[in-house]
C-alpha cells in the first residue's frame, strides 16, 4: 500500500499545477452578438392609470401575499401588512395613487402659521366595524396604544414628531400631551418641530383610530382580528400561514362604500411565492399577481396584448450609499467618477432584462411636481469623463474601494457587473463583499466605514422630503457614543446649506413653494455633491385582468386599490 503515496503525489502535483498555471490569450467576449442584440430597450413602459368610474357591488378579489408581520395597526410595517391594514382602517386622510391627498375620516385640516400645530375636523358619526362611533378620542386612543411603553411596536417612530411622545413612551407621562381632543369631532396635534406635511404622515396605518373595545397589543385574539373603521372588515381570524379573508363593511360611512364583496389573501411561502402567484394567475386562482424577474419579459409579451398587464414606476430607488466622510469617496469628484463609470443602461438591459430603469435622481418620478429628470448629471455613463474626475480626485488606478451588498436578495449579479465596470473603467481594486443583511447594516453603521454599499429606499409618506431628509440631512446621521450611525444617512453627508433648505421646505405651507425648495435641495445634494449614488428606479409589474376588473390601480404601497375595484 505504500504505492498509494505515488497516487497522492500525482494528485497533489495536479492540484499544484492547476494553481500555478495562469491565464493566457483568449478570445474577446465583447460586443453584441452577430445578427443584432436581442436585448430589450431600457425599462418597460408604464401602463397608464385606469380611469376610476362608478362600479357595481360584487366580486371576490383573490391575491397572494407572504405572511405579514402584523395586520393590527400597532405593528404594521411591510407591504403585505399594510395592504390588509389599509383595507381594514381609514385614517384621517387618504392618498390617491397619483399622490393627491383626499379626506379620510377628517373632512378638513389646517395648521397654524409655522405648521407646528395641526387641527383636524372629523366627519361626525362614522362607525367602527363593531358599531362604535369614530371620534377624536378614537384617534388619541389608537395613537397612544402604538406609542405606549409596552406596545411592542416597531413602527411607533411614526409618532415621534408629536409633542409628549418621548415622555409617554418612556412611561413618564400618563398620556401623549401633544394630542388633544378639542371636541368629539376635532383633533388638535402639537408637533415638536414644524412639519407642513404632517397630514401625509397620518395616512400611515400606525396612525389609525382604535375603538373602546380594542384589545391589548399582546393579545393575538385581538391583533389577528382587529376591529377597524375601513371599507372592509375581518371575516373570521387571520389564519397564520394560510390566509386572511375580508368582507365589505356594509355600514361604511367614512367614504364611498367598496364594491367588492370580499378580498381573499392567500399566504404563500416567501421562497417561491412570487412564482406561485404567477402560476395562480394563469390557473385562474389569483386576480393580481407578481412574477419572478426573469418572467417579466415573457409575461409582458404574453399578457400585455390581452389587457392583463400593469406596469408602474413606484416609490423606491436603488442606490449606493457612498461614504462621504472617509477616503476614497470623500470628494464629490470621486463620487461622480464612480457614478459615471457605472453603465446603468447596460445593467438594466443585460442583467435586469429591462425590468428596472436607470435612475437619474433620488426623488423618483412618482412625485411629478418634485421630480427633476437628469438632476443627477453624474448618473450618465461616461467612462472618459469618469477617468478625468477620478484623476482629479486622486482615485488613481489601483486604489482600493469597498463594494458591499447583502446576499440572498438578488443583488449578486448586478453588483458583479458594477465591480467589473469599476475595474475596467477606472482601474480600481474593488473589495467585493456580500454578507447577510444584518451584517451589511452593521458594516455601514460602523465608524470608519468606507466605499460603496448598496441599499434601497422607499418613502414612508408620499413626500419628496421623505427621501431627502432621511438619506442626506445632518440630523439623520445620529451618531451614537461609539461613532455609529443610528439614522438613515449612512453616507454621512453633512451640508448646512442643504439642511437649511430642507428645514425651510418642511416649514413651508404652500405646496408649490415647498416643492421648489425640495428641488433646490436635491440640486445641491445630488446635482452638485452627489451625496448618494442613485442607480435604479423601482418599477413594479402585475398581472391583472382589466377586462374582468374595473378601477384596478396600484397604490403608493404597491397594493391594489381595493376600495375602488369592481367586477365588470
Amino acid at each position: 500500500m505504500r504505492r498509494s503515496r505515488t497516487g497522492f503525489a500525482v494528485v497533489a502535483l495536479g492540484a499544484a499545477a492547476a494553481m500555478v498555471l495562469t491565464g493566457c490569450a483568449q478570445r474577446s467576449n465583447q460586443g453584441a452578438p452577430e445578427g443584432g442584440s436581442a436585448q430589450p430597450s431600457v425599462g418597460y413602459p408604464e401602463t397608464p392609470p385606469v380611469e376610476v368610474v362608478p362600479g357595481k357591488p360584487g366580486g371576490v378579489f383573490r391575491l397572494g401575499i407572504t405572511e405579514p408581520t402584523a395586520i393590527d395597526p400597532y405593528n404594521v410595517q411591510e407591504s403585505e401588512g399594510t395592504s390588509v391594514a389599509n383595507a381594514l382602517f381609514t385614517g384621517l386622510v387618504q392618498v390617491e395613487p397619483d399622490g393627491t391627498v383626499v379626506p379620510g375620516v377628517a373632512t378638513d385640516w389646517s395648521a397654524n402659521d409655522d405648521c407646528s400645530q395641526w387641527t383636524f375636523n372629523l366627519k361626525p358619526n362614522t362607525h367602527f366595524h363593531n358599531g362604535e362611533v369614530v371620534d377624536a378620542t378614537s384617534f388619541k386612543r389608537g395613537w397612544e396604544r402604538v406609542a405606549a411603553p409596552n406596545s411592542g411596536s416597531e413602527v411607533s417612530y411614526h409618532l415621534d414628531v408629536i409633542q409628549g411622545y418621548e415622555e409617554f413612551q418612556a412611561g413618564q407621562a400618563p398620556e401623549m400631551t401633544g394630542v388633544q381632543v378639542a371636541s368629539a369631532n376635532q383633533l388638535v396635534v402639537n408637533l415638536v418641530q414644524p412639519d407642513c406635511e404632517f397630514p401625509l404622515r397620518t395616512n400611515h396605518p400606525a396612525l389609525s383610530p382604535a375603538p373602546a373595545a380594542v384589545g391589548p397589543t399582546s393579545d393575538p385574539n385581538y391583533t389577528d382580528a382587529p376591529i377597524g373603521n375601513g371599507p372592509f372588515k375581518m371575516d373570521g381570524k387571520w389564519e397564520h400561514d394560510k390566509g386572511i379573508r375580508l368582507v365589505r363593511f356594509e355600514e361604511y360611512d367614512a367614504g364611498p362604500k367598496a364594491y367588492l364583496d370580499a378580498i381573499e389573501f392567500t399566504i404563500l411561502n416567501p421562497q417561491n411565492g412570487v412564482q406561485l402567484e404567477t402560476d395562480g394567475f394563469k390557473a385562474g386562482t389569483f386576480d393580481w399577481a407578481r412574477m419572478p424577474t426573469p418572467l417579466i419579459g415573457p409575461n409582458r409579451a404574453e399578457f400585455e396584448p390581452q389587457g392583463k398587464w400593469l406596469s408602474k414606476k413606484t416609490n423606491g430607488i436603488n442606490y449606493f450609499v457612498a461614504m462621504n466622510a472617509e477616503p476614497p469617496l470623500n470628494s464629490p469628484e470621486a463620487r461622480k467618477a464612480v457614478s459615471m463609470a457605472i453603465d446603468r443602461a447596460a445593467i438594466a438591459e443585460g442583467v435586469f432584462k429591462g425590468a428596472q430603469a436607470p435612475a437619474d435622481s433620488i426623488v423618483p418620478s412618482l412625485f411629478p411636481d418634485a421630480y427633476q429628470p437628469g438632476v443627477c448629471d453624474a448618473c450618465v455613463y461616461d467612462p472618459v469623463k469618469a477617468k478625468e474626475l477620478a484623476e482629479k480626485a486622486g482615485l488613481t488606478p489601483g486604489t482600493e474601494i469597498n463594494l458591499s451588498f447583502n446576499t440572498g436578495a438578488g443583488h449578486e449579479e448586478w453588483t458583479a457587473a458594477v465591480r467589473q465596470q469599476l475595474e475596467q473603467n477606472l482601474g480600481l481594486k474593488v473589495n467585493y463583499q456580500g454578507v447577510p443583511f444584518t451584517d451589511h447594516l452593521n458594516n455601514m453603521e460602523a465608524k470608519g466605514a468606507s466605499g460603496l454599499y448598496r441599499l434601497a429606499w422607499g418613502a414612508d409618506y408620499p413626500t419628496p422630503g421623505n427621501y431627502l431628509i432621511p438619506l442626506m440631512a445632518t440630523s439623520s446621521i445620529k451618531l451614537d457614543a461609539e461613532g455609529k450611525v443610528t439614522g438613515n444617512n449612512y453616507s454621512r453627508y453633512s451640508n448646512p446649506e442643504f439642511d437649511a433648505l430642507v428645514a425651510r421646505a418642511s416649514a413651508t405651507k404652500d405646496e408649490a413653494a415647498r416643492n421648489e425648495l425640495w428641488k433646490e435641495a436635491e440640486r445641491i445634494a445630488i446635482g452638485r455633491d452627489l451625496a448618494v449614488i442613485p442607480l435604479f428606479q423601482r418599477q413594479q409589474f402585475r398581472l391583472v385582468d382589466h377586462s374582468k376588473w374595473g378601477n384596478v390601480n396600484m397604490d403608493f404601497n404597491e397594493d391594489p386599490t381595493f376600495d375602488q375595484i369592481f367586477l365588470k
Binding site: G14, N29, G350
Partner: protein, 340 residues
C-alpha cells in the same frame, strides 16, 4: 477503551538501529509472513530486503489494478476524473474566453457557434465558466481532501496508538465536530473567516478531518496489538517509526477509500455554500454560484442551459469520484483478493 493499559512509554531503541526489517508489508501479510521476515531481519540483510520489496511492488499494484478494472463503473469514473483533472490543470488553454469576462450586451444567450453552452446571466461564456468551475472544484475538492486526510490520519494514529487521555481528548473533539451538520458548521466558519476559496477550504477541512481520524484510529487500535508490531517494538523500534512504517501503510486503505468519496462531498458542499451566498465571492464562476444565479430562470422557457450545465457538472463529478472510491474499496479489500 479507556480500560486498556497505556502503551509502554517509547520502546527503547538501544543498540539496534531501527532499520527496515518488517517495514512494510503491503498490507496483507499474515502473522506468519511477518515472523519469517522478522526472523530474517538480521543486520546486513536490510538492504536486500528493501530491494526485494521494491521489486515486488509492481506486482501488488498490478494486482490492485486487476481487481479495480473488473468494476466497469469504477473504470468509467476514473476516466471522468482524469478528464476533469485535465480540464482543471489546463483550464487557461481550454477555455475559449476569459471565464470572468462579462458581456452585458449578450446575456443568457442560448448555445450557439460562438458560445457552445451559451452565456450566463452576466454574458460570460458558459463553457469557459464551467471549465473554470472544474478547476475551482478540483483545487478545493482535492486540497480539502488532502488536508483532511493528513490532519485526520495524524490525529487518528496518535489517538489509536497512544490511547488513554490523548485518545479520549481527540475522540471527544471529533465527536463535537461531527455533531455539527456540515453545512451549518461550514457557514459558521466562513462567516468568521470571510468569503473566499481559502475560508471554504478551511471550513471543509475543519469538518472533514474527524471522519478520517476515526477511521485511522480504529485501524491503529487493531494493528497496534498485532504480532508484527509487537515484534518491532521488541527489537526497539521507536513509536514514531512503528506508527509511520508499520501501522500507517497497513491502516491507510479505508482512509483512501473515504478520501475519494469525500472529494464528491466537498464539491457538493462548496457548491451549496456558494449557492447560499456564503462561499466564493458572487462574481466567481463557481458551479454553485452558476446555479444560484439561474435559480429564477428555472421556469423560463429557453434558458435551460443556465442551470442544467452547472448542475450536470456537479452531478458528473460527484458520481465519478464515488465510482472511483467504490472501485478502490473493492480493489483494496484483502478479503476480495483473488488467488495470485
Amino acid at each position: 477503551m479507556t480500560t486498556l493499559p497505556p502503551p509502554p512509554e517509547g520502546t527503547p531503541a538501544a543498540g539496534i538501529p531501527p532499520t527496515e526489517p518488517f517495514a512494510d508489508p503491503d498490507g496483507l501479510h499474515s502473522a506468519g509472513q511477518t515472523d519469517q521476515r522478522a526472523a530474517s531481519a538480521v543486520e546486513g540483510k536490510t538492504v536486500a530486503t528493501r530491494r526485494r520489496r521494491r521489486s515486488g511492488s509492481p506486482g501488488a499494484l498490478a494486482d490492485i489494478w486487476s481487481r479495480y478494472k473488473r468494476n466497469k463503473l469504477a473504470v468509467a469514473g476514473l476516466v471522468i476524473v482524469a478528464v476533469i483533472l485535465f480540464m482543471a490543470i489546463f483550464q487557461p488553454f481550454l477555455t475559449p474566453y476569459d471565464p470572468f469576462e462579462q458581456n452585458l450586451l449578450n446575456t443568457t444567450a442560448p448555445p450557439s457557434a460562438d458560445h457552445i453552452l451559451g452565456t450566463d446571466v452576466l454574458g460570460r461564456d458558459m463553457y469557459s465558466a464551467l471549465v473554470y468551475g472544474a478547476r475551482l472544484a478540483m483545487v478545493v475538492g482535492i486540497g480539502t481532501m488532502l488536508m483532511s486526510v493528513i490532519v485526520g490520519v495524524a490525529f487518528g494514529a496518535l489517538a489509536g496508538y497512544k490511547r488513554g487521555w490523548v485518545d479520549a481528548v481527540i475522540m471527544r473533539f471529533t465527536d463535537i465536530l461531527l455533531a455539527f451538520p456540515l453545512l451549518v458548521g461550514a457557514i459558521f466558519v466562513v462567516r468568521i473567516f470571510g468569503q473566499g476559496v481559502l475560508p471554504v477550504v478551511i471550513a471543509l477541512v475543519i469538518f472533514g478531518w474527524p471522519t478520517s481520524a476515526r477511521l485511522m484510529r480504529g485501524q491503529t487500535l487493531a494493528l497496534r496489538e498485532s504480532e508484527y508490531v509487537e515484534a518491532a517494538r521488541s527489537i526497539g523500534a521507536s513509536d514514531t517509526r512503528i506508527v509511520l512504517r508499520h501501522i500507517l501503510p497497513n491502516a491507510i486503505a479505508p482512509v483512501v477509500v473515504y478520501a475519494f468519496t469525500s472529494v464528491g462531498v466537498v464539491v457538493v458542499a462548496m457548491a451549496s455554500l456558494s449557492f447560499l451566498g456564503v462561499g466564493v465571492p458572487a462574481d466567481v464562476p463557481e458551479w454553485g454560484r452558476l446555479i444560484s444565479q439561474s435559480y429564477n430562470f428555472i421556469r423560463v422557457p429557453g434558458n435551460e442551459h443556465l442551470w442544467l450545465a452547472p448542475a450536470m457538472a456537479i452531478v458528473i463529478t460527484t458520481l465519478a469520484f464515488a465510482f472511483v472510491a467504490d472501485g478502490l474499496r473493492d480493489a483494496l479489500d484483502p478479503k476480495l483478493r483473488g488467488g495470485n
